[in-house]
Subunit: 386 residues, 2 copies
């Protein structure tokens, strides 16, 4: 393993002292990383963070895949004491207990937080990939994580855990490397995207592509298509939460005069202000091309491609136990899709626990609803050690 300055220079600004990097040896040690839907990447870097200690026989590894938005910083550490995106879930004495497990969170291939992505330099041309980056698949994200672990000397996982897009990645991992995964947790994931969800993501991408600043993906990194990204993220935020949560939280509250926009048809309701604040915060950290590639990867993912049908694909999973969690208020990855995952894996005789949460926070519940998620995850991870 090594770091490669040229390949990571674009996205390294988005990493911290806690981020580590593996430059993959590539498929069969060739240095080439063959993409699932065609094309080859060279000198692929995977960024990751880890917590806890690797046991001497390497039998306590928990791999965590995040959603579209976050970096590998799932949890704070000495090197980066800021809160991670799953701070309540990972750490000493927490549900995924780093006193027992060695937890690795990878930054997905294609994401702009340190792993090779469309804003990386193509070592063959010495130019930024932009839209010349090959089509990205969830399978590529799973494979890059697998290669990174192999290069780190880890060839077996106690568990793979993933939420949202990460839930798709964890499904792909368990499908593609069935002998190497003991336990699987998928949260608000999907075996394949449904048309409503495809429509939401397609519109987000089109909004970004229509921003004149996008320039067919050849924007200057200092002049990103901010307007399109803000609009796309607002649509994302709307799909990540639930109407009833906002009803309770904002109802029809108006912003006070000092925060009201002077612009005609500008911000007037608190819900508009909330969306604007959070979208602008996100856009400062995220790259437009990464957004588009990861978004499309989710549309294209289809477990049915692994065996001819969703159930044939899920039947490849060989885990000892699986935990599937769905949320009733999730409109993006509806709870019926979680039921489908649970049913499909249990059909082949595997032990599956399906938990249907009545969280009010929609698709994002796993990020914020510690009260419901903590005890379920704690109990499950304890059971995997029994």
């Amino acid at each position: 393993m090594s770091t490669n300055a040229s390949a990571v220079n674009q996205s390294i600004a988005r990493t911290t002292a806690a981020t580590r990097f593996v430059t993959l040896r590539g498929d069969y040690g060739t240095g080439d990383f063959v993409m699932h839907r065609g094309g080859v990447l060279k000198e692929v870097v995977v960024a990751y963070e880890s917590w806890g200690a690797l046991s001497s026989n390497h039998d306590n590894v928990v791999l965590v895949f995040g959603g579209l938005s976050p970096s590998a910083h799932a949890c704070s550490s000495n090197e980066d004491p800021s809160n991670g995106w799953w701070e309540y879930m990972i750490g000493p004495g927490k549900p995924i207990d780093t006193d027992r497990f060695y937890v690795i969170c990878v930054n997905s291939l294609g994401s702009c937080f340190g792993s090779t992505n469309p804003s990386s330099i193509n070592p063959e041309t010495n130019e930024v990939y932009g839209l010349d980056f090959p089509d990205l698949s969830i399978e590529d994200i799973a494979k890059s994580a697998h290669h990174a672990l192999m290069d780190l000397g880890i060839d077996h996982l106690h568990a793979v855990v993933g939420s949202s897009m990460g839930g798709m990645s964890s499904l792909a991992y368990a499908l593609m490397y069935p002998d190497e995964v003991d336990h699987l947790v998928t949260i608000s994931a999907a075996t394949r995207a449904l048309p409503f969800t495809i429509a939401v993501r397609s519109l987000q991408r089109e909004i970004i592509r229509c921003d004149p600043g996008f320039k067919k993906g050849r924007y200057n990194p200092q002049e990103e298509p901010t307007c399109g990204m803000v609009l796309a993220r607002k649509l994302g935020l709307m799909s990540y939460r639930a109407a009833e949560e906002w009803h309770q939280r904002f109802n029809r509250a108006r912003v006070p005069p000092e925060r009201k926009s002077n612009e005609r048809f500008g911000i007037e309701f608190e819900v508009e202000s909330y969306l604007d604040y959070n979208a602008r915060k996100f856009v400062k950290t995220f790259d437009a091309n990464s957004y588009i590639y990861l978004s499309r990867a989710m549309d294209l993912f289809d477990v049915a491609e692994h065996g001819g049908s969703v159930n044939a694909g899920l039947a490849k999973i060989q885990t000892k136990t699986t935990l599937v969690i769905g949320v009733e208020t999730d409109i993006l990855f509806p709870v019926q899709q979680q039921q489908e995952i649970a049913d499909g894996i249990s059909r082949s005789g595997r032990s599956v626990e399906f938990v249907q949460m009545n969280s009010i926070n929609g698709h994002d519940s796993f990020l914020v609803d510690e009260e419901h998620f903590s005890p379920v995850m704690r109990k499950y991870f304890e059971s995997t050690l029994a």
Copy 2:
């Protein structure tokens, strides 16, 4: 009543031989139309179509308010034989039977299909209003329809019927003119917008406003901000239908190669193609400023402004009977909001029938689900004659 060429010239291109126009006498015959939230319009024109014959004592009038998108062409006629937006509902022998009723559908004030709207000429400046058009309220739409009817010699309604935004307009009408309405039908309406719905509409408006072609509402009518309008309409279409309908209709079907876009990240799934086709079709007929004004009017509408609370506002309604219809798959005007309307009106002792439809077509069900809506509406209108 008269037509006024200067005030209608911009939007008359969007009308047909069946469209008629009333230039309102204005408040107290002054010619001024005072807007609900401030500002005054002069020489206000209301476009409408009508079907059936007015009875000698003017007791068979049914007023129909449409949603944001349609014109007054709810139904075909000799003058305009093309199908109207509610063709299955209105006509001889149909649920709203023009053999019995004189049906008038008005084009909402602010809409671009013939009524005074932001693309009209301000007679005081001889320039297009643009964003100088005053804030538009649902109450203004109701009042302009009321003034138009008065000017046509109609001072009492057998029924007011409205769906979506038109349902809000019909509620406002029944609230504001309680002595003049015998029967009321609201379909997929709301007493006030909830924050999720405000967020959807706010984002649509912002997408349009961010289109460089929008030019703060001063675009050339021949160079509308088409890109922003297409994107906003796609978001609208997504909120008007239901995920399960698209699942059954499109699932993950791909467009055939000959219809596939060559552009990177262009159209690949049938659901994307469907949205693109329908959004582009709509945008050819609709004006961006009208869209923004009508959209904001829905956010601002709040029955609670009429008496201090939603129930106090609804208690003003004095109809003999009311029919409230909601659809279980409607995510924009959820069925709970229909229940609220029914409960609020019946609380003051009025006769209210509440019908919860299990249509699969979401908010748009009233437009397309003839099978469920026809019998309910037919039975109700027959009951009003009993």
